[in-house]
Symmetry: C2
Subunit: 767 residues, 2 copies
C-alpha cells in the first residue's frame, strides 16, 4: 500500500478522506488507556465500511471453539476480547438530512492522533445532499487519570446556512464481535434508562457474568447558549438523549459527551450504576478542558520515561513514537490481572490477551521504561495462573508440573491448533526466562523467594516429564514440538526448545541454591510447600547433563531440529520474489518441508541466552540461519536486528529495524484494518535499545555498546535502571549519557566503566 | 456395549425395543441398492432420538469448509453426502391418537434385516395411550432390479378395538444434514403436488443444481376393501395423501407405498417428473409381492458370487455375511461415477464418497466376487478424476503430475486437516497399486494401454517432484508426510510412502516397457499425448535407485520414519488398559510422540508388496511393529490378520479377524449410531479370503494356502477368477475346491498345482 499518512514527529496525521483506508485508520488512530480502548470510529453515523470497536481490558467471552476436526485435548472455548457498548455515538440530523461521511461530500478532512498529549482530533467540512455545508471539529480521549472516563468535544459550524440540528447522543450495547465463531451475540440486556441529559446502559455477558455499565451525560451549547434535551428513549441494550438546537451560519454548536464505563471486574455488581454515576459526576465537574490538560500532563510523564528521539529521520521518529505510544496505551501495569493482547485495544483478531509475546518481547520495554512494579505485575499475572497451568498439564496427561497456555485470558488455554496448542511448548521456557530477565534487570532477587520459585519449579517439573530418555544413545530428547519457527511443526529436538528447557532447570536449581544460601527458612517453606523431592532435582541435573542438542560439527551450527540438514537448503535470495510472502503463496505443506524460517528460532536462543555464547558461535549461526529466514512473523526482525548490531552487521541491523518500525503506519502486512500489531511494537523498541543502543545488563551492571545507523543524525532513548533514569543520546561521533535523576550510576560503555553522577551528563566518543 | 442382536446365519435380528439402541439399529438395519439407501428409520412418526437418513448415490453438497485456523491450500468446501427427501413417512392416527413408539407401550418388537432376500422387516404390538392395542408388520426394501424404486408394505391389525385410522402418507424434502457445518439447509423448493393417491416433491440443491424428484403412490386396503384417499395437501418441499379407514378388531389394514426417486444425475432435468411417473407406474404394476420376489432372486445371485459360509460359529457366520451384504448394498459397480463412502448409505459422517479405502481395502472384494467390469469401474472412476488430480497438484505448487484427493466426491479435494490433506499422499500410491492389483488379478493387461498408463505416469510425475535430492548423502528423500499410521504426522521419510512412491515409478516404467513391446503404436500415442520426455523416465530410474529408506540393520527392520527408534519404544501390552483406546484417553501430542501405531504402516507395505519380501523379513517387521499397534483404525486388523496367517501366527490371525468381523453388529467402537464402517467390511472379507484362504495371484496363477481357525468346523468362500467361479471349502482336515463353472482352472494349493475341471470338485488335505 502507498503510504498515506503524513510524517510528523509527534502526531499521526491523515489528510483527505479515503473510504478505502478508513478501517486501517480506525486501527491506527485508536486510543486507549490500559483500562479501555476505542477504535477511531466516527462519532456520527457512518454507513461505509467500518469495524466498530470499543474494548474493556479483561472483559472477555468464552466463544465456543470452532474446528474442522476435533483433537483430544482441545479447549472447549476460545476466549475473545469483547467488543462492548458503543459510548461515542452521536446521530446528527441537519435540516432533516443525516450527517454521514459515506454520502456527504467531504472537504478538508484531517484526522490526527496526537501522541504527545494523548488524544484523537478530527476536522472536516461536509457538504450534505441538501446543500448544507458544515465544518466539524471533534476531539476525544480516554482518560489516563480517570481510567473509566471517555470524553468527546464535537463542534459543528454551519458554513452556508441557518437551520436546525437534531442531536441524538446514545449508548448502544447491542454489539457483536466481528470474530464471533458462530455469529452469536455475547451481551445480554440488564438495564437501560435515560432522563434529562443522562442515559445509562447495563449489559452482561451471556457467560461468565461480566457486567458492564456505561453512563453518559451530554451537553449542547449553541453560540454560548445551553440547549436543554428535548427527549430520551430506550430500547433493549440501548438508551439515548435528544437535543434540538438552532444552527446559525458561522456560529458554533458544541457537544460535550462524557461517558463512564465501569465493570464488575473493578466494582461490586450491585454498585455498578452508582459507581458510574459518581465517576461521571466527577468527570463532568472537572470538565473537558481540564481533563484534557490532565491527559497532556500524564502523557508528558510517560514520554519522560520512555521517549526515543531520532534526529534526521522524521519517518523513523514518528514510527518509533507510534510504537511507544501504543505500548503505553495498551498496558499500564497497575492491574496484575491484565496483560498485553496482540491487537491491544485496536481490534479483535487472535482473541485472548496473552501470548508468549509478553515475556519474550514486551517485558523488556516495561523493565526499562517503567517503575519495577509494572514489569513485576506481568510476572505476577503468570503466577496467578499457575494453578490453571498445572491443570492444563494434567489435562494433557502429565502427572505433575505446569504448562502455561499458548493463548489465554484467565489462565486457561484458548488456542486450538494441535501443532501450536500442544506443541509450541517453548512458551513455558519464556515464562521462566522472564523471571530471570526481571531479576537480572531490576536486581529484585526477593521476587524469587516471594513468588518466582514456585513458577520455576513447576515449569521444570513439566520439562522433566516432557523429555524422554533414549537408552541407545544415553541422552534425553524432546519429540513432537513446534519451535518459535512455526514454519515447521511436530519436529523432534528443536534446539531452542531443548535449550530453553535445560536452561529453565539450571536456573531453577541455581535459584534454589541461592534461596537456600540467603534465606534457609523461606527455602524450607517452599521445599515443603512444593513437596520438592531430592530425586526431582537430581533428575533435572541428569537431564541438563544429558540433554541432546542437534548440531552440525562441520558447519559449527546448532540445528534447528533433527534432520534439518536433510532439507533442501536454500536462501531466501534464491527464491523468485513472486513466492513471497510464502504464507500467501505456498501451500502449508510446502512451507513446512522447506528450510525457510518464519521467525528467529536458534537465534531466539542466542538472543535470550546471549551471555552463554561467544561472538563466533553467534556469528556462525546468524550467518547460517538469517539468509533462510523470511521474517513472516512481525516478531522476527527485531531479534535479528539486535544480533546484527552485536555482530557489527550494520546494514542488516538497519534493514531489520525498518521491517517493523512502521509496520502498521505503512500497513506492510496489508492487515492493519484488523488492528495494530501491538506486541511487535515492543520488539521495535528492543531493536533500538538493545540493538542500536547495545544495552545489556550483566552482573547488575548496565552495558551499552551503541551504534548509530548512517541515516540518522542522532538517536536518544530513556532507560530506568536501579533507581536512576538515563537519557542516552548517540550521535555519529559521541555518546552522551545524561542522568536525569539524583542517583549516581556506573555504566559500562564498550566495556569501559563510566561513572554518571546524578543530574550529570557524560560524553564518550563512539567506536 | 452388551451385544443385543440375536445370532442367526442369514438375518440380523433385534428382539424387544430399546430406545437407547434405536440409532445404532437405524445404522445396522439400513437398506441400500448401490443407487440409494435408507437408514432403518420407522415409517410412522417417532419422537425419540433418531437420525433420519435417506441418501442418493452421487448427490452431494459442497458445504462451506469449517476450520479453526485456515491453512493455505485448504479447499473451500467439504463435499457432504446429502440427506434427501424422506419417502418412507406415514403418519398414523388411531382413534385420534398418533402411533409413536416413543410414547406407546411397545410389546413383541422384532426388527429383522433379511440379508438372504434383501429386505427390512419389523413387527410389534403397540398399546397406545388411548388403550387401543395394534399389531404392526412392516416390510420394506429398495429394489435391486428397479434401482429407483422403494416399496413398503405396512400392516395394521387392531387387537382390542374397532375404530378408525387416519393415514397420511407423505414425502418430505425439507431435510437437513446432521453434519452440516453451519446448520444450513441444502435443499431448495422446486415443485410439490398431490392428487388422488399420488404425491410428488421435486427439490434442488442450493449449489450444484442436483434435482431430485420423489414420486409416490399409496394404496390402502382394509380387510380386502380398497380405501380411497380423502385428501391431499402440499407445502414447501412437502406433499401428502390422506386416507381414512375403518379398523375392525382382528382385521388387517394394509398400506402399500411405492416411491420412485430419480435425479438429474441419471435423467434430463426437464424429464425428471415424467421419468418418476413412468418408473412408479411400472413398479405399481408389478406390485409389492413380485418386486419382493425379484429382490430375493437378485440377492440369490449376489450370494452365489460372494457368500462365505462358516460352519460351527453362527456369530462369525452372521458377521461375515453382514459385511458382504453391506458391501453389496453400497456399491454395485454399474456406474463409474460412483464410489464407496466410508458410511455407505448408513449415515453422514466423514462426508465425501471416496478415500484410499476403496483401492486399499475394497477393490479386492469386487475383483474376487464380481464381473471384472465392476472393479474396472473403480479404476475408471479415478481415471475420470485425473484432470482434477492434476489441478490439485498445481494448487499445491507442483509444476506437473497428479495428486489424488484424500476425500472426494467429484475429484476435488474435500478434506481440510493439513497433516492429512496435504501430507497423507501415500494415497496416490494406492491408486497406482490398484491398477497393478486389477491387472494382476484379472489379467486384463489392455487396461494399461487403454487408461491406466495415463494415471500411472501422472502419479509418477508427482512423486518425482515431491522427493528432493540430498547431495550430502546422495539420496532422494521425502519430507513432511503422514503415513497410513495417522498417529504420527509430518514425518520425514515414512518408509511406506517412500516405498510405494518408488514402486509406482518402477511399475510405471515396467508398464511403459510392456506397452512398447506389445503395442508400439499405442505406446507412441501415449508418449506423445503425455509429452513424456526421456529425462523424466531417466529421473524416475535415478530416484528408484537412490531412494532413501530408513532401516535399522541391527534389528533388521524398516523404520516407520526417520528417528523412529529415538521414540520411547514400548508395547501396547506395557500400557495400563485404562489408557486404551488412546484416541479417547490421550491428548493428540502424546499420541504423536509415542511409538504407538494406529494402523498398519510398514506392514501395509509388506501386504501390498508381499511378493517383494521374504518371509523372514516380513516376520521381523511384523514381530517388531504389531506389538506397538493399537488398531484404532477399523482398517488395521485385517492387514495384520492376513500377514499373521502367512507367518503361521494362527491365534493372532484369528484375534485380528475378530476385531473387525462384528465391528458394527457389536458396536465395538461405540459409534455405530453414526453409520456402519462400510470400507472396513471389505477388510474383513480380505481377512477370510487372503488370510485364512491364503489366496494370492502370482504370475496369473491362483494360489491358496488355507488355514482354518480351530473355532470353526469349516469355512467356504467363492471367488471368480479368469472366467471360473470356485467355491473353496476348508475343513479341519481338507480343502475342497468346487468349480461352479465350465471353465477348467489350475490352482496352486500350498504351491502344488491342482487341476480343477469345470463343474468338478477336487479335494486336498490341509497342511
Amino acid at each position: 500500500m502507498k503510504p498515506y499518512l503524513k510524517e510528523h514527529p509527534w502526531s499521526i496525521i491523515e489528510e483527505g478522506f479515503d473510504k478505502t483506508k478508513h478501517e486501517i485508520s480506525e486501527s491506527v488512530f485508536s486510543i486507549g488507556n490500559g483500562h479501555m480502548g476505542q477504535r477511531a470510529n466516527f462519532e456520527e453515523s457512518y454507513t461505509g465500511s467500518s469495524l466498530q470497536g470499543s474494548y474493556m481490558a479483561g472483559v472477555y467471552y468464552p466463544d465456543k471453539t470452532r474446528v474442522g476436526w476435533w483433537k483430544n485435548g482441545y479447549p472447549e472455548y476460545f476466549a475473545k476480547v469483547l467488543n462492548a457498548t458503543n459510548w461515542i455515538g452521536l446521530k446528527l440530523v441537519i435540516n432533516g438530512t443525516e450527517l454521514d461521511l459515506n454520502t456527504a461530500e467531504v472537504l478538508d478532512f484531517t484526522r490526527e492522533l496526537n501522541m504527545k498529549e494523548g488524544y484523537l482530533y478530527r476536522t472536516f467540512t461536509a457538504k450534505l445532499s441538501n446543500g448544507n455545508t458544515i465544518k466539524v471539529e471533534a476531539t476525544r480521549f480516554v482518560s489516563i487519570t480517570m481510567k473509566e472516563i471517555g470524553a468527546i468535544e464535537y463542534k459543528i459550524t454551519p458554513a452556508n446556512f441557518d437551520g436546525e440540528i437534531d442531536i441524538t447522543s446514545y449508548l448502544d450495547g447491542d454489539i457483536i464481535n466481528s470474530d464471533a465463531n458462530y455469529d452469536e451475540k455475547f451481551w445480554a440486556e440488564v438495564n437501560q434508562q435515560a432522563s434529562g441529559n443522562e442515559a445509562l446502559v447495563t449489559v452482561k455477558t451471556k457467560k461468565l457474568d461480566f457486567y458492564y455499565t456505561s453512563k453518559m451525560q451530554t451537553f449542547v451549547e449553541t453560540d454560548g447558549n445551553i440547549i436543554k434535551p428535548n427527549a430520551t428513549s430506550t430500547r433493549e441494550k440501548y438508551a439515548d438523549v435528544t437535543f434540538q438546537a438552532p444552527l446559525t451560519q458561522g456560529k458554533t454548536t458544541v457537544i460535550y459527551k462524557y461517558a463512564a464505563n465501569v465493570t464488575n471486574r473493578d466494582h461490586d455488581n450491585d454498585t455498578l450504576e452508582a459507581v458510574a454515576t459518581s465517576k461521571l459526576t466527577d468527570a463532568v465537574a472537572i470538565g473537558f478542558s481540564a481533563l484534557k490538560t490532565a491527559q497532556k500532563d500524564a502523557w508528558d510523564k510517560k514520554w519522560q520515561d520512555s521517549d526515543i528521539v531520532i534526529e534526521g529521520d522524521v519517518s523513523a521518529q514518528q514510527g518509533i513514537r507510534f510504537n511507544i505510544f501504543q505500548m503505553n496505551q495498551t498496558y499500564t501495569g497497575e492491574d496484575a490481572r491484565l496483560n498485553i493482547g496482540p491487537k491491544g485495544f485496536t481490534g479483535e483478531k487472535y482473541g485472548g490477551s496473552t501470548y508468549w509475546d509478553t515475556e519474550a518481547y514486551c517485558l523488556p520495554f516495561y523493565l526499562a521504561t517503567a517503575d519495577e512494579r509494572i514489569p513485576r505485575n506481568l510476572l505476577v499475572y503468570r503466577h496467578n495462573h499457575l494453578e490453571k497451568a498445572k491443570e492444563n498439564a494434567k489435562k494433557l496427561g502429565f502427572t505433575k508440573g505446569a504448562l502455561y497456555p499458548m493463548v489465554t485470558m484467565n489462565g486457561e488455554e484458548s488456542h486450538n491448533e494441535w501443532e501450536i496448542t500442544f506443541e509450541e511448548i517453548h512458551r513455558n521456557g519464556a515464562i521462566a526466562y522472564a523471571i530471570y530477565d526481571y531479576v537480572n534487570y531490576t536486581g529484585d532477587k526477593d521476587y524469587i523467594g516471594e513468588l518466582g520459585i514456585e513458577v520455576l519449579v513447576e515449569i521444570s517439573r513439566f520439562w522433566e516429564e516432557r523429555v524422554h530418555y533414549v537408552p541407545r544413545k544415553d541422552v534425553y530428547m524432546m519429540h513432537g514440538v513446534t519451535g518459535p519457527n512455526e514454519y515447521d511443526n511436530n519436529v523432534n529436538n528443536n534446539w531452542y526448545t531443548n535449550r530453553i528447557a535445560s536452561w529453565t532447570m539450571s536456573y531453577t536449581l541455581e535459584s534454589l541454591r541461592d534461596l537456600k544460601a540467603s534465606n534457609k527458612e523461606l527455602y524450607t517453606k517452599w521445599i515443603d510447600q512444593l513437596e520438592l523431592k531430592p530425586e526431582e532435582t537430581t533428575k533435572w541435573e541428569s537431564i541438563i547433563d544429558k540433554m541432546y542438542y542437534p548440531v552440525d560439527e562441520a558447519l559449527g551450527v546448532f540445528l534447528q531440529a533433527d534432520n534439518f540438514l536433510d532439507k533442501e537448503i536454500m536462501k531466501v535470495s534464491d527464491l523468485d520474489p513472486k513466492h513471497l510472502p510464502l504464507n500467501q503463496n505456498w501451500s502449508w505443506d510446502r512451507i513446512l518441508r522447506s528450510c525457510f524460517i518464519k521467525q528467529a528460532d536458534v537465534l531466539q536462543g542466542m538472543h535470550f541466552l546471549n551471555h552463554k555464547y561467544d561472538l563466533a558461535t553467534i556469528k556462525r549461526n546468524f550467518d547460517f540461519y538469517e539468509p533462510m529466514t523470511v521474517h513472516e512473523s512481525s516478531l522476527s526482525p527485531c531479534v535479528h536486528s539486535i544480533l546484527a548490531c552485536q555482530l557489527g552487521y550494520q546494514d542488516k541491523a538497519y534493514d531489520m529495524y525498518l521491517r517493523t518500525a512502521r509496520l502498521d503506519l505503512d500497513n506492510y502486512n496489508n492487515d492493519t484494518e484488523d488492528g495494530c500489531h501491538i506486541t511487535s511494537m515492543a520488539g521495535t523498541w528492543m531493536s533500538v535499545i538493545q540493538g542500536f543502543g547495545g544495552m545489556k545488563v550483566i552482573d547488575h551492571e548496565l552495558h551499552l555498546r551503541p551504534f548509530i545507523p548512517g541515516q540518522w543524525d542522532s538517536f536518544s532513548f530513556k532507560i530506568v535502571f536501579r533507581g536512576a533514569r538515563l537519557n542516552i543520546r548517540v550521535t555519529q561521533t559521541q555518546i552522551e549519557v545524561t542522568n536525569e535523576t539524583a542517583v549516581d550510576l556506573d555504566v559500562k560503555i564498550f566495556d569501559e566503566t563510566v561513572h554518571v553522577s546524578g543530574n550529570d551528563t557524560v560524553t564518550v566518543a563512539t567506536k
